[in-house]
């Protein structure tokens, strides 16, 4: 373990952590698939995951991580070569390895080493080894090196190159399922890596002695190779692997056929870049004349044969002498060994020489006409982004205050107004842009659920098919964080309570395998995340009985609608599972789900058909920072009513108003009667007039409840930046936050959901006082 860690290293480590996490997240689903269909491509992909993790971890001296990755890799390699049979236990072990890797990565991130993971690493690699032993039985594993001990930290990624890169033509493999998003991130990362490598090669060409540079280049190319391998871009992988080999030779100080191979490597780099661009365009990674390029690079590595000869027992001095005296060492050594005739060598060399020249001739123009990278990304710290967005929010307010400045009232300012309009437009564009920056696709969140569903279905003994729909839908990053836990809870509930065990399903005439659909889409200015299952559905009678037993509702519940009954499952302290399992059913889940959603101003709907399944819809606002609001006035106070909840507004006449015996006012709108809530009562303000026909009624809707809000006047509509009321004040019923208006004044944003409640409280309070 290196004692001293400098800034650069920290950066490298952080990059390693992020990359590895991404890889694990992407691959976990694939590992689970292994259990179901172990096609060659999936196994290869997983193999490469562990392989690149091992490489990087080894390079950074995270020995325990490397050890586990190596053990997993061994197991997968045997499976891949059909030397052992895949059993479900292997999937579990690999999942365990993934978990370990995640934990180790957390540790690496905080402490920059994985020392504390010794015992866990021991256990997991031991398990993996046992699995290999058991599976192998009496099998003889020809490709297996005897020194595949996990404790060997010096194990280098490059040592068994022949094993890493399957030499069989990979084009034959069916394409692994690669989403557009994965493809994009591959292209981005590929571009980054290639560019870094290119810069490294260029400066290396000038400073051939710089060992650090080589290390950098090698790492870039190595990561690129890993990525290609993971995505199954075999052509790119083959070429970059070849480059990696050469760089490794250079790194370890071996001499090459050419003094400084930077030019040849650059030419290959260009070919790789072209391949990446092709992929970005949606084409495959096919490289024409791949074999030739690889062979060209091979000629650079030629002296390495000397090492092999040494292993074969040829005296070192002899080889050294050969290398020294001969310009063309390959042939010479081969001849010395007696495995090839001088003629053969001559012919081969001639061919190679021709090809090198051809490549050089062709590579040059490629370098000049190099197409630029398709898309550029940088990783930015979230804190910076947040303050940028806050600043833009402030800017919107400042712009409003400037344009609508009271000092300008009544002045004829044609030029100022023009400039002002231009500025408003820019500010609006800036704001929209800022909002999109924070949006990320839900696919990451959804994919995490695959593992969860797998684990639960195994535990609960149910067969589940999880379908993900609309993964590309984008949601604010903080929203994604907030709905992660709710989603986990809901899925658990669906699987545990909703879906029936296989025999019960068969008895009900359904497919033995249950289906859970997780989908996301944009709807009505919101994002809807929907969880559907085709299980037994919610049991109304059971819910009612439980609610009455727990004292959540009063009476026998016969006055409740189906929807209200379904919503009871979100009441605090409600849990209907007859038997509390370790998966769900502690009675804390569902109300936490609701609370989390309310935090982000989201809503939750449940619908269910007995025997057919249930559907839970999370309705989430697109952004947390801005709402469309109607500015309304009561007396001297202005408030904002979210436009989304407004159905209509009208000036009532007395004929429309009915007063019930207990003093409740109802307004008739066409065929419906809605209770009236007077905003001035809630705010404790003096309105212009208390007579309903003098003011305006706004019909508001919250979930299924509709009511009328009585106000003096509607002043206009505006996009408003939401600000929280101070913590010092805390939660105010009926108010969700505030905003700053164009004149610099603060205006409250009404919370339609709690308005009804607070109106009722007011009323009761008044009655009590009387």
């Amino acid at each position: 373990m290196s004692m001293h860690i400098d800034e650069d290293q920290i950066e490298i480590i952080q990059e390693f952590v992020t990359e590895s996490r991404d890889m694990i997240d992407q691959l976990e689903p694939a590992i689970i698939e292994l259990g179901q269909n172990s096609d060659a491509e999936t196994i290869n992909a997983i193999f490469r995951l562990f392989h690149s993790m091992k490489g990087s971890a080894g390079f950074l001296e995270f020995d325990h991580l490397a050890r586990v990755a190596h053990a997993s890799e061994n197991l997968l390699d045997l499976i891949r070569n059909n030397e052992i049979e895949l059993v479900p236990n292997h999937v579990t072990l690999l999942c365990g390895a993934c978990d370990f890797a995640k934990e180790a990565l957390d540790m690496v991130e905080s402490d920059f080493n994985d020392d504390a993971m010794v015992s866990a690493a021991d256990e997991i690699s031991e398990n993996l080894h046992q699995a290999i032993e058991i599976a192998k039985g009496n099998d003889q594993a020809p490709g297996q090196e005897p020194n595949a001990q996990p404790e060997d930290p010096s194990e280098h990624t490059e040592e068994p190159p022949a094993k890493i890169i399957p030499e069989e033509p990979q084009n034959a493999f069916p394409a692994m399922e690669i989403t557009e998003e994965m493809r994009l991130s591959f292209v981005q990362e590929g571009n980054e890596l290639l560019q870094s490598a290119e810069q490294g090669l260029l400066s290396w060409g000038e400073n051939p002695e710089d060992k650090e540079l080589i290390g950098d280049i090698f790492r870039h190319i190595h990561s690129f190779k890993g990525n290609c391998g993971f995505f199954g871009f075999s052509h790119l992988e083959k070429l970059s692997h070849q480059m990696e080999n050469i760089l490794d030779r250079v790194k370890s100080g071996s001499r090459l056929a050419v003094e400084n191979p930077a030019d040849q490597l650059l030419a290959s780099l260009d070919i790789l870049q072209q391949g990446v661009n092709n992929i970005a365009d949606g084409k495959d990674d096919h490289i024409e004349d791949l074999d030739r390029y690889v062979a060209d690079l091979n000629t650079l590595v030629a002296p390495l044969l000397g090492d092999f000869l040494m292993e074969e027992g040829v005296a070192e001095q002899a080889i050294a002498a050969a290398v020294e005296t001969q310009k063309k060492p390959v042939g010479e050594i081969l001849v010395q060994q007696g495995t090839a005739s001088p003629d053969q060598i001559q012919n081969a060399l001639k061919k190679q020489q021709d090809k090198i020249e051809k490549t050089k001739a062709e590579a040059k123009p490629v370098a000049r006409t190099k197409t630029p990278a398709k898309r550029q990304d940088i990783r930015v710290e979230l804190g910076k982004l947040d303050s940028l967005i806050n600043l833009i929010g402030e800017l919107v307010i400042a712009e409003n205050m400037l344009i609508h400045n009271p000092d300008l009232k009544g002045l004829e300012l044609e030029n100022f107004n023009k400039a002002g309009q231009h500025m408003s437009k820019l500010v609006r564009e800036l704001q929209e842009m800022a909002m999109t920056i924070r949006m990320i696709p839900v696919s990451g969140l959804f994919r995490r659920m695959i593992r969860l569903v797998h684990d639960i279905s195994v535990k609960a003994g149910k067969k589940v098919d999880l379908k993900l729909i609309g993964e590309e839908t984008e949601i604010d990053k903080t929203v994604i964080e907030t709905i992660t836990d709710p989603l986990v809870h809901l899925l658990r509930n669906s699987l545990d309570h909703g879906l029936e065990p296989p025999d019960e399903r068969l008895a009900a005439g359904k497919d033995e395998k249950g289906t859970v659909r997780l989908s996301a889409r944009h709807e009505e200015g919101e994002v809807w995340v929907i969880i559907e299952d085709d299980g037994r559905g919610l049991n109304k009678e059971k819910i009612l009985a439980k609610a009455i037993e727990k004292g959540i509702i009063e009476g026998d519940g016969s006055d409740l609608t189906e929807k209200q009954i379904h919503n009871l499952i979100f009441a605090p302290g409600f849990s209907t599972a007859a038997q509390i399992t370790d998966i769900s059913g502690r009675g804390v889940g569902m109300d936490v789900v609701k609370k989390n959603l309310e935090k982000i101003k989201g809503k939750i709907d449940v619908s269910s058909t007995p025997g057919q399944g249930s559907k839970i819809t999370l309705r989430i606002p697109l952004t947390l920072a801005i709402i469309d609001g109607m500015i309304v006035r009561v007396g001297t106070t202005t408030c904002i009513v979210p436009t989304l909840s407004i159905l209509e507004a009208f000036r009532p006449d007395m004929g429309q108003i009915t007063i019930t015996p207990d003093g409740e006012e109802l307004a008739r709108v066409r065929e419906n009667f809605f209770p009236i809530i007077r905003l001035h009562d809630i705010l404790g303000k003096q309105p212009d007039s208390k007579a309903l026909p003098d003011g305006i009624l706004i019909v508001l809707e919250y979930q299924e409840n509709r009511f009328c809000l009585f106000i003096d006047e509607i002043l206009g509509q505006q996009q408003t930046v939401i600000k929280g009321l101070s913590d010092f004040i805390g939660n105010v019923p009926g108010v969700s936050g505030c905003t700053i208006l164009g004149d610099g004044g603060v205006s409250l944003i009404l919370d339609v959901g709690t308005l009804v409640e607070s109106a009722n409280n007011k009323k009761y309070g008044l009655e009590n006082e009387e």
């Binding site: 929010g393 402030e394 307010i397 400042a398 106070t637 809630i682 705010l683 404790g684 303000k685 600000k723 929280g724 009321l725 101070s726 913590d727 010092f728 004040i729 805390g730 939660n731 105010v732 019923p733 009926g734 108010v735 505030c738 700053i740 610099g744 004044g745 603060v746 205006s747 409250l748 607070s758």
Partner: protein, 167 residues
């Protein structure tokens, strides 16, 4: 960075020690420790917030930040007085919470060494004394030194916090 921050903190503590911002309220002089004071602004339009104790007058816009405003007269149960052009809002910050305090008039920053600060008198009716940190003497004048923390968080505000937690 961290070192710098502590340095300035030490620095501030040194220069701010024993310094009090004094203000008038209903004929008496009060003082609060200067380290809590962010700035002093003139009175401006305050937006009402429903369901608040009477001494929370509402919220104001402080350069894009929304902060609550407490009327110190109302807090002490003194008679209300029309705001005029001498009325000030002292913005204080305690543990990251910014609150504006409405006072009749801000006087000056006074140096009151620890030796000149008497402990708060214990009276039979010592309800409101809980906000008093001590009595500061400058020559013949007496300034009532307020405990800003208690001013902000004790009494009714505590109840609000408690109900919030329950919710």
């Amino acid at each position: 960075m961290a070192e710098e921050a502590t340095l300035t903190a030490v620095d501030n503590e040194d220069t701010q020690k024993d310094k009090y911002l004094t203000f008038h309220l209903a004929g008496e002089d009060y003082g609060i420790e200067i380290q809590f004071v962010i700035e002093i602004i003139g009175i401006q339009s305050i937006t009402d917030v429903p369901d608040m104790p009477a001494f929370i007058r509402g919220v104001i816009n402080l350069r894009g930040k929304v902060i609550p405003v407490m009327d110190v007269r109302a807090r002490f149960g003194l008679e209300d007085r029309e705001y005029d052009d001498r009325t000030c809002i002292i913005v204080v910050n305690i543990d990251g919470t910014e609150v504006g305090l409405v006072v009749d008039e801000v006087s000056e920053v006074a140096d009151i060494p620890e030796a000149n600060v008497e402990p708060a008198p214990r009276t039979s009716k010592n309800n409101d004394n809980s906000y008093i940190q001590g009595m500061g003497k400058i020559n013949n004048d007496v300034k009532i030194l307020l405990d800003v923390h208690k001013l902000l968080f004790s009494g009714e505000m505590q109840d609000i916090a408690a109900t919030m937690e329950e919710q």
